[in-house]
């Protein structure tokens, strides 16, 4: 009887220690993965940072203006008569534009 109890205890201890070590190894493995992921995130952050600088460089207003002059020679500065609120338009047109603007706003909001 005593021997059987001992065997049970030893088995339990064995199972428990196996589980413990298994978990430890898994955690270590996950930590390693996390480290790699963090490294990758950092690398991506650096890339995004460089891209932001490039974006800003490519969007210099003087460059955009030069490109617009070259590629869109018909484009001119808008004059005051071309700018106005919705109320200046006739009712159906205003409704249509208002609806599409509302739709656009809703789409922008629903972006992830």
């Amino acid at each position: 009887m005593k021997g059987a109890a001992l065997v049970v205890w030893v088995c339990l201890a064995g199972v428990a220690s196996f589980a413990l070590f298994n978990i430890t190894f898994k955690v270590e493995q996950l930590e390693g993965e996390l480290k790699l992921l963090n490294k990758a995130v950092l690398k991506e952050q650096k890339a995004v940072h460089v891209l932001r600088a490039e974006w800003s460089y490519l969007n210099r207003p003087d460059r955009i203006e030069a490109l617009a002059r070259k590629l869109l020679p018909e484009l001119a500065f808008p004059n005051a008569a071309q700018i106005g609120g919705l109320e200046r338009l006739s009712a159906p047109a205003a409704t249509a534009i208002g609806a599409s603007a509302a739709l656009r706003a809703a789409m922008v909001r629903s972006k992830p």
Binding site: N38, L42, P61, E65, A81, I83
Partner: protein, 581 residues
């Protein structure tokens, strides 16, 4: 212990039959000893294993039951470490990147490890054409362990050098301060030295926080408006062959500077090779006698202190003599002028007489409350202290009345004009965008006076010297200014500071715009004139036409009854006739 004793007793029991003295033989003795040794070894091994098992069991119980037996109350998600640069970014009010740190590679060499210096130099100049072959060969032949060849390579250059495969050449990564928009906001941003210490602009005034903070520094500048201001000023500077120009766009409600430029400027990416003249910030560091734009303050003071009413006026028939000066009118009408006329024709005689009636003490106190007697408050190290007369004689009071004898920075003028049109509140000018509500401004003139100033400034653009600033639909109001530049021993005849300060839309002003040209020369398009109304007013018109739609100011019908009522001035019949020609 029990285990030990039991084993011993077993041994004893077994050994007993063999321990009879008569039967004892040497062979048995040896066997018994061997058995004894092996049993002892078994026992020791068993004990060690037992201790190990006990230790593991104790630790198991400890881990499973005693330590953190519950689920952790606070769950920490493992977070990626955020990227950290030596210096925080600077962005404009819309988040456009104005200054950032980039990691670049710098090329250095260990000449002792370079096998063939001449061949290496020959190859290297194919990848980096800016280098000189002879110079590189000389450097690579020296007996040193470290020499710099070129700092801050572009990724493409680095790739090219790397693909040459020259032994003894190495790269070192380091951060470089980059200004993607170049000269766009050079005087505001400033620049840094090679160790990333701010030497000018907000780079200097926010040096410590840029080093410590990861969050970008957000300016009030709108890079689009800044570009428009710079482009228009630069074009006018070329057109009128001016030696310099300055311009500011300011939000009248909170003192935020939307754009500020000073020409000639520089590219902060190449701050090392910049001349002192380019570094000079005319908008905040330069102080100038800004001429007739000061009449805005004189008239506001006169109306506020009840010195004269809108319907009142002064005789401007003859030039005014005081001490050794003679005060003349540029657009002389040679008759009695009402207050609106004095303002719209920019009469020096009228303004001088008005200032005389206000008195030196009141004038000084007014300018002091407006912040014009000390350097402007703005987050830049380059701020010029105004030049004010000491002592403040009656003649100074009169000349200051039309903007001579006191020099302030363009920034101070703009801040002052903003207070005149925004309902009478002096706001602190700022370059830093903050989400917190700004401190309420200090009242300097009543709402009523401010309303009258709006009407007067509108009149200048509709009927007076500032017609060239009329941007249709945006209800512009303003004041021209043309001042003789003072040189050694008095004023220099032909050297002018021509300016125009405007606010729009005048029925509810949102922005003040200033354009100043330093020593412009008239040309055919201006009939040879280089005054503020001819050279600076058109700049302001173009700036407003281009920037107003971006700033969300909708054009209105300027002839609408509500606008006419808000900004109209009833001139007397004879004045109307005279004004029409």
């Amino acid at each position: 212990m029990m285990f030990w004793k039991r084993k011993r007793s077993v041994r004893r029991r077994r050994a007993r039959p063999t321990t009879r003295p008569s039967a004892e033989r040497p062979a048995d003795k040896r066997a018994a000893r061997a058995l004894e040794v092996s049993r002892n070894r078994l026992l020791v091994t068993g004990s060690v294993l037992l201790i190990a098992f006990i230790a593991i069991s104790v630790r198991l119980i400890d881990v499973a039951l005693l330590q953190e037996a519950r689920e952790p109350r606070v769950v920490y998600a493992p977070r990626a470490q955020a990227m950290r640069m030596d210096r925080a970014d600077i962005v404009d009010r819309n988040g456009v990147l104005l200054a950032t740190n980039l990691t670049t590679a710098s090329l250095h060499a260990n000449p002792r490890k370079v096998i063939d210096a001449d061949a290496a130099a020959r190859q290297l100049v194919t990848a980096l054409p800016a280098l000189r072959e002879a110079e590189i060969a000389r450097i690579l032949k020296t007996d040193r362990a470290f020499v710099w060849l070129r700092r801050n390579l572009t990724p493409r250059q680095q790739w090219r050098v790397n693909s040459l495969g020259i032994p003894g050449l190495y790269f070192q990564s380091a951060e470089t301060r980059a200004y993607p928009n170049g000269a766009l906001a050079a005087h505001i941003l400033g620049y840094v030295d090679i160790d990333h210490r701010g030497l000018a602009g907000v780079e200097k005034s926010f040096d410590a926080s840029l080093r410590d903070n990861a969050a970008p520094l957000r300016l009030t500048i709108d890079s689009r408006v800044q570009y428009i201001l710079r482009a228009e000023l630069s074009q006018a500077m070329t057109e009128f062959r001016a030696i310099g120009a300055a311009g500011i766009v300011l939000d009248v409600r909170n003192g935020e500077v939307l754009a500020m430029t000073s020409l000639p400027d520089f590219d902060p990416n190449m701050a090392g090779s910049v001349r002192a003249g380019q570094r000079f910030n005319r908008a905040s560091l330069g102080v100038y006698e800004l001429g007739s734009t000061f009449k805005i303050f004189t008239v506001a003071m006169a109306l506020e202190y009840g010195v004269v009413k809108m319907s009142g006026g002064y005789d401007a028939t003859k030039p005014l003599r005081i001490a050794r000066f003679t005060i003349r009118d540029f657009h002389a009408k040679k008759r009695w002028l009402s207050v609106p006329e004095i303002f719209m024709y920019s009469s020096n005689i009228g303004a001088a007489k008005m200032a005389r009636d206000i008195g030196g003490e009141a004038q000084r106190e007014f300018f002091s409350r407006l912040g014009m007697l000390r350097a402007a408050t703005i987050e830049l190290p380059e701020v010029g202290a105004p030049l004010i007369p000491s002592p403040w004689r009656p003649v100074n009071t009169m000349t200051i009345g039309y903007g001579h004898g006191m020099a302030v920075s363009p920034l101070q003028l703009v801040a002052g004009v903003a207070a005149m049109v925004n309902g009478g509140l002096v706001n602190r000018t700022t370059l830093i965008r903050s989400d917190a509500a700004p401190a309420p401004g200090k009242r300097i003139i009543s709402k009523r006076t401010s309303d009258e100033m709006r009407r007067l400034m509108r009149l200048v653009v509709v009927k007076g010297t500032g017609k060239n600033a009329a941007a249709p639909g945006y209800v512009v109001g303003g004041k021209t200014g043309t001042a003789d530049k003072s040189g050694r021993g008095g004023y220099r005849g032909e050297a002018l500071i021509s300016s125009f300060v405007a606010a729009f839309p005048m029925q509810a002003p949102r922005y003040v715009v200033l354009a100043v040209l330093d020593e412009p020369r008239g040309n055919k398009s201006t009939a040879g004139f280089a005054t503020g109304g001819w050279v600076a007013a058109p700049i302001v018109r173009r700036i407003i036409e281009r920037a107003a739609p971006l700033l969300g100011v909708l054009p209105v019908d300027e002839d609408a009854p509500a606008i006419r009522q808000a900004l109209g001035i009833r001139l007397k019949k004879e004045e109307r006739q005279l004004a029409s020609f």
